[in-house]
């Protein structure tokens, strides 16, 4: 009972933050919803309906914590085909059926379905979807809408559209293209501009706001009609009352046709894969490291899809980009998903007429960017690094998906993978004979530290990974586990990739998953596979130092520090800082450190969010290890951002007698009393008299940095000086403090 009470109390305490993050998410969800629906040849409002129904139903029934549900970009391709063959009302019927199927999958506990697809094949499919979106929307973005037979034709026509864009007869088209290119520029350069005020509004919303602003500028100031051709403006958005009165009637007359069920299957397949992958990825972003109930989420998504289909909306899936924005803005439970739906309703009710002021190309630019992110050449390069055979699987899936269809594409990928595995091992029997065998053994060791021990025999590939996964899931991530693959003749890339994700989860929750027994595989000529490449980090080239690195070396000499340019994988010391709770550290490099590593300056590359919301940040930090305990705190310059956060439930800790300090600095901490005691006159004066840095303590060490970009040589010197003086004061304090 008391447990429940604290639970409810915690919920209400977190509610303001969740409402806030739901609001930010709705800013992205609105333009994305409109765009995705239009890209699928459905009325724009269909996307918003899906997001609203999804937000309400999944937040109530779902089993995940911080995922946001709504229309998904993966589905654009299949729904496009469905609309073309079944008509709009037939598509709604197909969506309803796929929702029912999805619910069924949830009840059948088929959450593991996604495990049966090799990861390179999934990558290939996603890239194909990206190309389909990009190919079609690119022309609209450039003000050259056209109707072509297949997705490949759209891609081929891209160069001619670019050339044609310089010679439109109608200036309305030229303006349309300009709007599109400007919007694309916003999407591309948004992550590169690191200004917190600018980042308060997500990039897609900037596009919406600027478009509406321009439109009013023309109407009110210039008193001219909107320059963009009217056919390139968003078509009528129905008002709330109209949505209810105009609910489409799903047309089930095609239920007996082959094409109908083909579409239903394709939609269900993509919807489930997209949702499952998103849930998996978002679980890794969750700062509280909770485990989502995948099957429950599938059921909820299915029910939401049925509802959305009846109301004239698209499929509801779990989406990664919006979820990651949710996490980054402090969303901590499903109420943020509900809030996002709520704000969408408000937007539609209040601003539905304003939305028609947005030029279509601007909206499509968002989708072009999304498509590009899915099919980005960087992804392909990454796959190539893993192995040539992965590239074969990837391109088979990609090409078959583009030329034939999604289901054929993913099946081709699966068969190709299997074929390659058989070819590499030159042994078909190994796979067929041992497939049904329960090849995974788990027990808790009685000796030593009682860790879990898992042993896998024969082979471990995407075909039978679910067996291993079942066992891994049954281990609490806070415990230690050993996975022995020494009797496995073959381990494929899908498994290696998934295992490294498991390792990360174990690591973040305080446990440890060790994979042993693969050392021999590398030297065995029969296994020239991605095995060795995935476990250790990719080596970093050190023989070719840049100018900055050479200067860093000199600085190191000046301050009598050691310098190492290469990448360090072990970033454990940083994991405890509040700052990194929702961020993923990619690498630490260019390190300057003293003898006992208690003082180190380093460049760090970390990322925040996933997918289109992913932002890569490279900056320079100082880490100072202390020999004594100090309270945990975070100190930064006071600003607009912080005021906003304080509305959402974070409290600034005031320091008595130093109102100036409190006004200028923003101080956070879990135990305000301890922090208040710790910040004595000396320390406060030091901070007041020096320039602003972000200073954070995790109890045993300090982390100091300033900007969210790599520091120049001068800045590093300043940073070191600041760090050294702060360390001095903190050390001096130790005497007083005890």
């Amino acid at each position: 009972m008391t447990k429940k009470k604290t639970h409810i109390k915690g919920f209400f305490k977190a509610l303001p933050k969740n409402i806030f993050s739901g609001f930010v998410v709705s800013l992205i969800a609105l333009p994305l919803g409109l765009g995705l629906a239009m890209a699928s040849n459905a009325p724009p409002i269909a996307g918003v309906i899906a997001a609203v129904v999804g937000g309400v139903v999944v937040s109530v029934l779902g089993g995940s914590h911080v995922t946001i549900s709504g229309p998904g970009n993966g589905l654009v391709g299949v729904i496009l085909v469905a609309v073309a063959t079944l008509g709009l009302n037939g598509t709604y019927a197909a969506i309803i059926c796929s929702g029912a199927l999805l619910t069924l999958l949830g009840f059948l506990r088929m959450g593991k379905l996604a495990d049966f697809f090799p990861s390179s094949a999934i990558q290939g499919m996603l890239a194909a979807i990206g190309l389909i979106i990009l190919g079609k929307q690119f022309h609209i973005m450039m003000g050259n809408e056209m109707k072509l037979a297949g997705s490949v034709e759209y891609l081929i026509a891209i160069p001619s559209t670019i050339i044609g864009a310089f010679s439109y007869d109608n200036s309305g088209f030229t303006y349309a293209a300009t709007a599109g290119i400007l919007a694309l520029a916003i999407m591309v350069f948004y992550p590169k501009i690191r200004n917190k005020y600018f980042h308060l509004v997500p990039a897609p919303m900037w596009i919406v706001l600027l478009s509406i602003g321009f439109s009013y500028f023309y109407e009110l100031v210039l008193k001219q009609p909107h320059p963009v051709d009217p056919s390139y403006m968003i078509s009528e958005i129905p008002t709330g009352a109209q949505i209810i009165s105009d609910i489409p009637k799903p047309d089930f007359s095609l239920v007996n046709s082959f094409g109908f069920w083909g579409s239903v299957l394709a939609i269900t397949l993509i919807a489930s894969i997209e949702s499952l992958l998103s849930i998996k990825a978002v679980d890794q972003l969750d700062p509280q490291k909770r485990r989502s109930n995948v099957n429950r989420d599938l059921k909820a998504l299915g029910i939401a899809t049925v509802g959305s289909g009846f109301l004239g909306g698209l499929n509801v899936v779990a989406v990664i980009a919006r979820s990651s924005v949710n996490v980054n803005n402090g969303g901590s439970n499903r109420s943020s998903n509900f809030a996002h739906a709520f704000f969408l309703v408000i937007f539609i009710l209040l601003f539905s007429t304003q939305l028609t002021r947005i030029p279509l190309p601007a909206l499509m630019a968002i989708l072009v960017y999304t498509g590009y992110k899915l099919a980005s050449p960087r992804n392909i390069a990454k796959i190539f690094k893993i192995g040539k055979e992965q590239l074969i699987i990837f391109s088979t899936t990609l090409l078959v998906t583009l030329f034939v269809g999604l289901i054929s594409g993913i099946l081709a990928g699966v068969f190709m993978t299997f074929f390659i595995h058989v070819m590499i091992n030159k042994d078909l029997e190994l796979f067929i004979k041992n497939w049904s065998k329960p090849n995974v053994l788990m027990f808790k060791e009685k000796r030593g530290d009682q860790s879990y021990y898992i042993h896998v025999k024969h082979y471990c590939t995407f075909l039978n990974f679910y067996k291993l996964k079942e066992k891994l899931n049954a281990i609490p991530e806070t415990k230690d586990a050993v996975l022995d693959l020494s009797l496995c003749e073959f381990v494929d890339h899908t498994v290696m990739e998934n295992l490294s994700a498991y390792q990360e989860v174990f690591h973040k929750r305080g446990g440890h998953l060790e994979i042993i027994g693969l050392d021999l595989h590398g030297t065995d000529s029969e296994h020239p596979f991605a095995l060795r490449r995935l476990i250790p980090g990719i080596p970093f080239l050190t023989d070719n130092l840049t100018k900055r690195q050479i200067t860093l070396e000199e600085i190191a000499k000046d301050y009598s520090l050691n310098y190492e340019a290469d990448v360090k994988d072990d970033t454990e010391v940083l994991d405890n800082f509040r700052y990194f709770r929702t961020k993923r550290i990619e690498k630490v490099y260019n390190r300057l450190f003293n003898k006992d590593h208690s003082f180190s300056v380093f460049d760090i590359h970390y990322s925040e969010g996933e997918f289109i919301a992913k932002e890569d940040v490279r900056t320079t930090m100082i880490h100072i290890k202390l020999n004594h305990h100090i309270p945990e705190f975070t100190l930064d310059r006071e600003g607009f951002m912080e005021r906003l956060y304080s509305i959402a439930g974070y409290d600034d800790i005031p320091i008595d007698n130093h109102s100036d300090f409190s006004k200028r600095f923003y101080l956070l901490g879990d135990e305000p009393k301890m922090v208040q005691n710790y910040f004595n006159d000396d320390l406060v004066r030091f901070f007041e008299s020096n320039s602003y840095y972000h200073v954070e303590s995790d109890g045993n060490s300090l982390l100091i940095f300033r900007s969210q970009r790599t520091a120049g040589v001068k800045e590093i010197k300043k940073l070191i000086a600041f760090g050294e003086r702060l360390a001095e004061i903190v050390l001096r304090e130790e005497g007083l403090y005890i």
Partner: protein, 282 residues
């Protein structure tokens, strides 16, 4: 429990390159058990063959062994099973074959048939040697069943006689028993609690059986229990393989029908992939 569970031991022999190793193993084992040995050869007998066997037995230095060579023609499976019945054999030794180029062993079709149909205990020998390799580490299946008590008792007898110093009783906890499906943190916690409970139950059951084992047999043997999670029958073989057990002792299944060959269970898994020497108690 009778003084010795194995009084009459038999081995089926063929005149193959492994004959000497097979005969030596059988002779040694019979001596250690204090039993009588019958060597069954399906086929015509002659003085040369008998002579050869006598030499092999003489070579391995088990002079006090009482043994008998039986030559009989007919279908190998039937002949052996018949002899087992007629002569009151209570332990039958069968040699496994080694797969080419692999360190894996498998059972020939004849040996398989015999194992399925035999009414006595069967010892499957994977790697017969002329020189003795001591059997140090034994793994015993503690799977709940009507014969478990007898199996464990016999295992201790064998361990005592063979001078093993490590005996692990394995309790297999079936997946079906852990009825809670792991979906999220909460169900994971519940499932783990249930697992712990099942483990404790199994442990008490095995402890109770252990308390009935004569002290003499338990002397100098390090006894351990281990709960494992996996598929019944299969996983214990897997376990024996990774702890590098020298002998795996397990119950015979209640029955083995044709259906079981297609949906392998307990014994069939073991027959498919012999992890080590296996003693099947009937």
């Amino acid at each position: 429990m009778s003084d010795t569970p194995f009084k009459n031991i038999a081995i089926g022999i063929a005149f193959s390159p492994t004959l000497e190793a097979n005969v030596s193993e059988a002779a040694r084992l019979t001596c250690m058990m204090g039993a009588k040995l019958s060597l069954i050869h399906v086929g015509k007998g002659n003085a040369d063959k008998k002579q050869l066997i006598d030499t092999f037995i003489g070579n391995c230095g088990q002079e006090q062994l009482s043994y008998e060579v039986i030559f009989k023609e007919g279908d190998p499976v039937e002949v052996i099973l018949e002899t087992v019945k007629k002569r009151n054999i209570d332990l039958l030794l069968l040699g496994a074959l080694k797969k080419e180029n692999f360190v894996k062993f498998y059972l020939g079709s004849i040996a398989r048939k015999i194992t399925r149909k035999a009414i006595c205990s069967v010892l499957l020998i994977t790697n017969p040697r002329v020189e003795r390799k001591s059997c140090k580490n034994m793994v015993v299946s503690g799977l709940k069943g009507a014969h478990t008590k007898r199996t464990i008792e016999t295992a201790f007898f064998v361990a005592h006689r063979l001078g093993s110093n490590q005996l692990t009783i394995v309790e297999e906890i079936e997946r079906q028993k852990v009825s809670i499906k792991v979906d999220d943190d909460q169900s994971l916690r519940k499932a783990n609690l249930l697992q712990e409970k099942l483990k404790r139950q199994e442990e008490t059951r095995v402890r109770r059986i252990l308390s009935h084992i004569p002290e003499e047999h338990k002397k100098d043997i390090h006894i351990e229990t281990q709960a494992i999670f996996g598929q019944r029958g299969y996983s214990i073989g897997h376990y024996a393989e990774i702890v590098r057990a020298d002998l795996l002792v397990m119950n015979a299944p209640q029955k083995s029908s044709l259906l079981h060959r297609f949906f392998p269970h307990d014994l069939e898994h073991i027959l498919n992939e012999l992890p080590t020497d296996v003693l099947i108690i009937r």
